[in-house]
Symmetry: C2
Subunit: 432 residues, 2 copies
């Protein structure tokens, strides 16, 4: 076999990941900060130093302040062209206004002063201490460690009739990755989309807006069989896979053996792999898998492919995303020298999530009327195979739909904002 020089070159080349301070991508929990008063505001050569305590100061760059001055932002939240105008060379003076809880900045050569809410400055604090603290706080705690594996529950009525119910529901999903909605009506089809619309518009995918998981004659997806399904995410071949998945159990007869739902926290799994096998972990961070759905013989033909590593890190080496979908992996397309180590690492991760002994997997039998709603980025899901026992007519029928990550995150952030306004500075919410 010839020497693969291409691969070697890549192994020795040195890269830097983007310096992103990005949170766990859609797998983080919101952070609430206690509001603070600045102890001192000092004009420095190129900006403003705000001291929150003797050991904690943050620095706001002159250009940053000028771009983000309230007057440069439109009523619809967009930056006006003025925001890109050259910042004055100097800040003339700055002062904290304790009554209005703002910091006022007077610019050299500009008639209009700028007033920044302290809350905003606190939220935008990018001192090393603040970045570290937030990074710690936003780490989600695996369900197994928080609730001993007990899946949180809420009633259908509570979600459908109050905004507080929606917030409570979404907060469960944010914290634990999933939540069961009890007593979802089963007499009509489409209830699952009514539930979804409490959050936002249903996401349209190659499976339509709503889909049925039950035995089909000529299935366009192996979920529409009675086979078991390994733990996986849906639509990992989309650039932006669904944020939430809702599965409404319309019917699940006692006569069906098996068909239990399974879940595992993918972020937790990745962290475990890092501890138990750093080499395998590094491989899954570096070698891109191929996710694909290629199926021409269906009403609406599909040919989608997306190459991405299974595990994604941010600059601080935190796991910010995991992509895992064994049934939808296309042929690996990487330099030849990477193939063996990829498969070795792949099998280790698969074993880690699937083997009951590792304690990552939770499983339960959905009951008719229950809707399990989960974060498709964080929680892998699957099921055990099933078959009717005796009675031929026994049925298992789930109806499902998706919400985009944008619908999920935007609605949650808006609810968080409302609650923060209502409680008058009780906390400063960090959006997710």
């Amino acid at each position: 076999m010839k020497t693969v020089t291409f691969t070697r070159a890549m192994q020795t080349r040195i890269y830097r990941l983007p310096l992103t301070a990005a949170p766990r991508s859609f797998c983080s929990v919101p952070v609430r900060m206690q509001p603070r008063r600045p102890q001192q505001v000092l004009v420095k050569e190129n900006g403003l130093q705000v001291a929150w305590s003797p050991s904690h100061s943050s620095f706001f760059h002159r250009e940053w302040l000028h771009r983000n001055r309230p007057g440069a932002i439109s009523s619809s939240g967009q930056n006006m062209q003025e925001s890109r105008s050259e910042a004055p060379e100097r800040i003339r003076s700055a002062a904290f206004n304790g009554e209005r809880m703002t910091v006022e900045v007077v610019w050299e050569g500009e008639a209009v002063a700028s007033e920044y809410p302290v809350k905003m400055l606190q939220e935008q604090d990018c001192s090393s201490g603040a970045l570290k603290e937030r990074s710690m706080q936003r780490k989600s705690t695996p369900l197994m460690e928080r609730n001993g594996g007990t899946v949180p529950r809420i009633s259908y009525d509570r979600v459908m009739t109050s905004e507080d119910g929606v917030f409570e529901w979404m907060d469960h999903i944010m914290q634990d990755g999933l939540c069961i909605v009890q007593d979802t009506p089963c007499h009509e089809e489409g209830e699952v989309t009514k539930l979804a619309r409490r959050i936002g518009n249903v996401m349209d995918t190659i499976y339509g807006e709503i889909w049925d998981v039950r035995l089909e004659h000529d299935p366009i997806n192996i979920a529409y069989t009675s086979l078991g399904l390994d733990l996986h995410q849906d639509l990992a071949y989309y650039e932006s896979p669904p944020g939430l998945q809702l599965l409404h159990c319309m019917r699940f007869d006692d006569g069906i053996l098996g068909g239990d739902s399974t879940f595992a926290d993918a972020i937790q799994a990745a962290e475990l792999l890092r501890k138990s096998d750093k080499e395998a972990f590094d491989t899954l961070v570096r070698v891109p898998a191929t996710f694909q759905k290629i199926h021409y013989a269906r009403a609406s033909p599909v040919h989608l492919k997306y190459q991405r590593p299974h595990i994604v890190l941010n600059h601080d080496e935190e796991v910010v995303a995991v992509f895992w979908a064994p049934a939808f992996e296309g042929p690996l397309q990487v330099p030849e020298g990477q193939v063996q180590r990829y498969f070795d690492a792949y099998k280790k991760f698969a074993h880690l999530v699937e083997d009951e002994a590792n304690g990552l997997k939770i499983s339960f039998r959905l009951k008719q009327g229950e809707t399990v709603v989960f974060n498709n980025r964080r929680m892998l899901h699957g099921r055990t195979s099933f078959k009717p026992s005796g009675t031929e007519s026994a049925t298992r029928h789930l109806q499902g739909c998706y919400l985009s990550i944008e619908s999920f995150v935007s609605r949650y952030n808006c609810l968080l904002h409302e609650r923060s306004c209502r409680s008058e500075n009780a906390y400063v919410p960090r959006d997710v």
Copy 2:
């Protein structure tokens, strides 16, 4: 100002980008390969060596072959659980079948042999030579260099009445980044979505499925004013911003002064920056900008934020994506030591795309009945400010909608596949 140790630590830490062989993300052009016959097929210790010419061989790993054997894939294109079964320790024999144009592999200890189409092996060739060649071939050529800035055109009827028309249309967009559809009817609203549906379902966003670009009293977007718009992409704060944007010029009275459409190739701009100012380029690759839309006082409140660098590279340092949306940048949230260099680099890129002298910008006045359709990932777009001259009633009215990157790519790949089947091995298409 205190020492920012956090930043220093990050600057010295060494990272490696994923070893992705990923193409220019949705900005690449499709590659057509001439079909080849293997000259030799050799069983090696851990796989198969296929020699295409005396100087070009590719190696297929035993596990790779076993996972991707045709029998392990369902009729709907999914990997069956069998695909993950342990591969036999050895390949017993392998041979090229010239009549069937396949390579047959006999496994040690498995009764069923596996037959791989040569076309598939050629497409999956990951030898260093093949990877390099494809990387070269898929680079798009900027419109200015290919067509001297002439925007390709197609008639509405051709797109609406034939599949070949759709392919031709999409191929223009693939190659040049944009295309004008002529003679789009203007007597009814919603024509733009009819056009879009020739490709796929319209993408639902926070602006709905269809939106009007015209003067509004209380605009939810500054596009709905008469202000000029700097070159930008739409919805850069989405994890997956729209793939295609369609803008149908419903009405554009002669009495309107200004309102010209502007476009620039973002990939070309990034490459130019790399040449002219490597430090600025590196900064835009490493420091994540904040893209956001936060607007509570609208029918459907929005709070979305996404941090990402402006320029994204793959392992081979090719530019695979650019994100640019000056009006939708939220406060930069990066370590304090990065702020100054970010703004310096930012202004250089902004100047590069906006300054006419750099020759990146094309501009033209849309005519009533024209629909400009463009790749929102590759082509930045904007407009000059406008105002009525004399007559108060002069109007400029565009109607627009989006298609997701998945709709665009999937439909194009399917059309490519059909054409490749029809022409019987005339070429092996590489999907995009």
